[in-house]
Symmetry: C2
Subunit: 251 residues, 2 copies
């Protein structure tokens, strides 16, 4: 990853911004965002997350963040820190029961505020969880972070990869640097007898990476442990760094 230092109003990002996108909802984009961030933090980096997924602010739940951000003055927001990661979610500023239609116009202004008013301090990486899909929302956000690296999460089905491919061509138009593709729910491995079943098909991740002229960074299995930890707010990388799945996130 080409490193580029970015100076913020209240802090710096020493290595870069990683924006995590997906073609459809429900492919595990937020799960990958949080586990990637915790893997980076476990390797000793200073990491921040911004949750801009207006369809469902699930980053705070998956990361296990209970505190709200605190305001020190009019233009200084202190982000809560969980498992060594500073995190700000649109969800702390928007009512989760408000219709989605109201949430997206707020997003543009809120994002600028998160870069200016949040006291991020010294960060190595800032990870952004983008809204799902290829509509105007993720596009508007990508335009505000021209220097970001893009990570695309997909599941193996043809339809998930076709839609995610549109993200790739969007990124090309805007000259964002494509980091690679993560294929999630790639297969299921039985705990009892070790049999592997490619439930959602095989090879979709690799096909998408080739189509987008980038690399397949890894394939994650469908694992009840991942879902259980997401629901309880303790990402798998934190508790079991040795587990096979954590290694995949660490690479």
């Amino acid at each position: 990853m080409k490193e580029k230092k970015i100076k913020l109003e209240q802090g710096t990002i020493n290595k870069g911004i990683i924006a995590v996108a997906s073609g459809k909802g429900g492919v595990g984009k937020s799960t990958v965002t949080v586990n990637l961030a915790t893997a980076l933090a476990a390797s000793g980096y200073q990491v921040g997350i911004i949750d801009t997924d207006v369809r469902g602010f699930s980053v705070p739940r998956i990361l296990g963040t209970k505190e709200q951000p605190k305001a020190r003055g009019e233009h200084e927001i202190i982000p809560p820190k969980t498992h060594g990661i500073k995190m700000i979610s649109m969800g702390s500023f928007v009512d989760e029961n408000s219709p989605i239609i109201w949430r997206s116009p707020l997003l543009g202004g809120a994002l600028e505020q998160f870069f200016k008013d949040v006291n991020w301090g010294e960060l190595d990486y800032l990870v952004l969880d983008l809204p799902p899909g290829t509509g105007d929302m993720p596009l508007n956000i990508m335009q505000k972070i021209p220097h970001a690296h893009l990570l695309v999460v997909t599941t193996p089905q043809i339809t998930a990869t076709k839609v995610a491919g549109r993200i790739g061509s969007m990124a090309e138009k805007m000259d964002l640097n494509l980091l690679g593709v993560v294929e999630n729910m790639a297969y299921y491995q039985c705990k009892e007898c070790g049999n592997r079943d490619y439930i959602f098909g095989e090879g979709g991740g690799l096909e998408l990476a080739k189509f987008m002229k980038t690399e397949l960074l890894g394939s994650l299995p469908l694992l009840s442990e991942i879902r259980r930890r997401s629901d309880s707010g303790s990402p798998i990388v934190v508790d079991e760094p040795e587990a096979e799945i954590s290694k995949l996130f660490m690479d």
Copy 2:
């Protein structure tokens, strides 16, 4: 199901309209829509489907429909028939590459046209695949079909059921009749050793049905056969009516 005969411009619906909704994308709503319709057709009923899911018109692919609707005059559209099911998709009137934002305003007018200008003939059931979520789109459609029965598809995770619960309260406000809940991807059963793994958790479907004061109609397993058949356009109920999964749809 309370039966109600509905007179259309070009046909009648003898038993009723079933609208299939879901709180989030990717839970298998379109897959359940098509398999429910094919199960009804296999039991000898005359069935039609309208695909209004503007986020991705996947009903034609899952049903295996290759033909386009034909126009006989300005106000007579003949729907293509596949596996004995007449089907009209918004996808045949809207370019799949157009941004989603443009698709929803068209939906209202198109739906009225589908009821007036399509020559449905004698139908027992009309099944509608709604757009996912609890935003304005599915709401606007539900308002146009006040006499419909609502089927809610969810996966077992807490978040999927929480969002789907919002659909239930929407339906109550609009006096739609709740048919029940279908829990999809409820568990994975290993083909080799029979071990069951509740990957996405247990009991979410039942909890949602209780919350919405309705019934859990069935729990479908995560099965690669279902995905493979959806990708190849031959719904499982058509080829293997005896399979356990088909029986679940038939009930």
